[in-house]
């Protein structure tokens, strides 16, 4: 198992290299660069000055020289500095990465907390009224766009009822590190987090339900019953373990969805995370920030699939690579 995890980690190195190369080239293909983003249409800046700035930042070098310089610094933890925010990208990202990761983890955990019991109930008692209720919920959750649902949540719980704050990630008046500070963070997390989780959970519920329905007709379940295994144990020991496989395989994909989904959530709840910064950086042609953020989300996807693989191999002996 340790050997498998180690190998799986090694595979990530070429993956990350390819990812960085593709991102860099694609980013270079974007129309304009940081200089046009910052000074375009400014009558006080002459083309000669623009050219001078380009030369100064190395923007006239061939792409591979620029790529080499970027990667060289990136592995040392230096992602360059933002042209628009005039500060190092790493310090610009630090707080926002924490916010986005917290939000994504919150959504992931809450959606599994909801999905696993509901999926089991729906799958075990197929066609019962509770199953029908759960499936109806799934249809609604699948059909509702995230931005519509988030706005409704924001309106009811943030504005009408006033239970939760409607923006930001924390109350700025609080001192960092105090109990109240973390409580306030959590309070700010609830609305965007629940909006994401309540919709994201539908996919997992449906997967789990369908797989349980499929698994409970399998022969080895008959074998278990013929052994005299009590019904509850038939589910926990035999059916669920097998039905967890697609859920684990789904995890990598789920993480990808969360990252793209968080762009909407962060915009709507003005939650200072990567998504918000991403949009700003694209409109401002803030090349260093854009590549850094895409690189982070890409890495998250690679890590997500790796987690899927490790979990799968832990559950399923058939795919363990010796």
């Amino acid at each position: 198992m340790v050997k498998f995890i180690f190998r799986r980690l090694l595979v990530m190195i070429p993956q990350l290299f390819l990812l960085s190369l593709i991102i860099f080239i694609l980013a270079k293909q974007m129309p304009g660069d940081a200089v046009t983003g910052a000074f375009m249409g400014n009558p006080n800046v002459t083309p000669e000055q623009v050219e001078k700035i380009r030369e100064q930042y190395g923007l006239n070098d061939p792409w591979y020289v620029q790529y080499g310089a970027w990667v060289g610094k990136a592995v040392q933890g230096d992602l360059g500095s933002s042209y628009t925010h005039k500060q190092p990208v790493t310090s610009l990202l630090a707080g926002r990465v924490t916010n986005t990761v917290t939000l994504s983890l919150f959504i992931l955990i809450v959606s599994y907390i909801i999905a696993i019991p509901l999926g089991i109930i729906a799958g075990r008692w197929t066609d019962s009224w509770s199953d029908k209720l759960i499936v109806t919920y799934n249809y609604f959750a699948f059909a509702t766009p995230l931005f519509v649902f988030s706005l409704l949540m924001l309106f009811f719980f943030g504005f009408v009822l006033g239970w939760f704050p409607t923006g930001n990630s924390v109350d700025v008046r609080l001192e960092v590190g105090t109990w109240d500070f973390y409580l306030s963070k959590l309070k700010h997390l609830v609305l965007p987090g629940m909006s994401g989780a309540l919709l994201a959970t539908a996919g997992t519920i449906q997967y789990l339900r369908n797989d349980i329905i499929d698994t409970k007709l399998k022969d080895f379940v008959k074998t278990a019953r013929a052994k005299g295994v009590p019904e509850g144990k038939v589910y926990t020991r035999h059916i669920l373990r097998n039905s967890m496989l697609p859920i684990a395989a789904f995890l990598g994909y789920e993480i990808t969805g969360l990252i793209s989904g968080s762009i909407f959530l962060e915009m709507i709840f003005s939650y200072p995370g990567l998504g918000q910064l991403f949009i700003q950086s694209i409109t401002g042609r803030d090349f260093t920030v854009t590549t850094a953020i895409v690189m982070i989300s890409g890495t998250a996807v690679i890590v997500g699939t790796m987690l899927s693989d490790i979990i799968l191999s832990a559950i399923d002996p058939r795919i363990r690579i010796e």
């Binding site: 013929a226 052994k227 005299g228 002996p317």
Partner: protein, 339 residues
């Protein structure tokens, strides 16, 4: 006669199809004694597997109606709640399934799967359980028991897996075993090995066995008594020698003459025309085999066929056996008469 272990009385298993119940097992009575192998034969769809699953209570309770009695050691299993049934399944009543490729949980080790019934039926320490599992693996002819104990089903061949399935059924020393086509899914060479193993085990344990099969070779080799099943009913019950030497019911005779034999390589193999009627379309009045022997006159059949004891222990349903002959025999007869 040895003590009766299992007694089935007038068992009727009906499935709900679009709101109506149709009997797949239609009034079956059978008793199995200690140390006796009773084979149930019949073609696909005759209700033999439905019968097996009814005995052990593995049908979906929502869509299945069970009537009659299945008495194991004097207790009727049919009206037991699942919790009580679970105290009997896997302990007194073991089941060997048809397809070893799917009958084992792919995610659990062989050792765990064989030990599992002991968790619920025996009070053993984990060391004692492991000892018993290794012993069982040896009994079913697995040599490298210590290695197999830790392996997963996908690492074993079909024959090995079927041995494991048998070990699971034997784990708690059942008094009654149901083997539902235990060799059907295996290669011919492996089939022979598994049959040898079953015979050997039957000699060691003294449980009663119901052997469900459509392979008459298996029947001849293993069974003490045979019940021939057609369209949900037994049409003939006899001890194995009588059945092969003096088959009476037209269905039994047709089945026996459909066995390829290497002695008569010039003769064409007998084919029973038609198929077993589906349980929805079955005509439950009259002789159920009549549509497949249309050359026999209708007067030969009973209006309401019952099992007749033609000699001690030999039962035949309907009276049509008295006038039955194969169609080609009649052609020969006619030729004989005209020439």
């Amino acid at each position: 006669m040895a003590e009766t272990v299992l007694e089935i009385e007038n068992l009727r298993t009906s499935f709900n199809i679009k709101g109506n119940y149709y009997a797949a097992v239609d009034g079956v009575s059978l008793s199995v004694h200690k140390n006796e192998v009773v084979a149930i034969v019949g073609e696909s769809g005759c209700g033999k597997s439905a019968l097996a699953l009814s005995i052990i209570g593995l049908h979906n309770a929502k869509t299945t109606k069970l009537e009659g009695q299945v008495n194991l050691k004097g207790q009727n299993l049919l009206n037991l709640p699942v919790e009580k049934l679970n105290k009997i399944r896997g302990k007194d009543l073991g089941m060997i399934f048809q397809d070893p490729m799917t009958a084992l949980n792919p995610l659990a080790t062989i050792g765990r799967q064989i030990a599992e019934p002991m968790d619920y039926h025996m009070k053993l320490s984990s060391a004692a359980k492991k000892k018993r599992v290794l012993e069982l693996l040896g009994q079913v002819g697995i040599k490298d028991a210590n290695r197999i104990y830790k392996q997963y089903p996908h690492e074993l061949s079909g024959g090995m897996r079927q041995r494991v399935v048998i070990a699971i059924a034997l784990a708690c020393n059942p008094v009654m075993l149901i083997a539902d086509e235990p060799t059907t899914a295996l290669d011919v060479t492996i089939q022979a090995q598994i049959m040898d193993l079953m015979k050997e085990l039957q000699r060691i344990t003294d449980s009663g066995i119901i052997l469900i099969t459509h392979d008459l070779g298996v029947v001849a080799e293993m069974a003490n008594r045979v019940a021939v099943m057609y369209a949900g009913e037994f049409v003939e019950i006899a001890d194995v020698n009588t059945l092969f030497s003096n088959p009476l019911h037209p269905y039994t005779r047709s089945l026996l003459s459909s066995i390829p034999s290497n002695m008569t390589d010039k003769e064409e193999l007998h084919v029973i025309e038609g198929i077993v009627p589906s349980i929805q379309k079955l005509d439950r009045e009259g002789c159920r085999f009549a549509p497949r022997i249309p050359w026999i006159s209708e007067d030969a059949h009973e209006d309401k066929p019952t099992l007749h004891e033609v000699e001690p222990g030999h039962f035949v349903r309907c009276t049509c056996y008295k006038e039955f002959h194969f169609p080609e025999e009649r052609v020969e007869d006619e030729n004989y008469v005209t020439t």
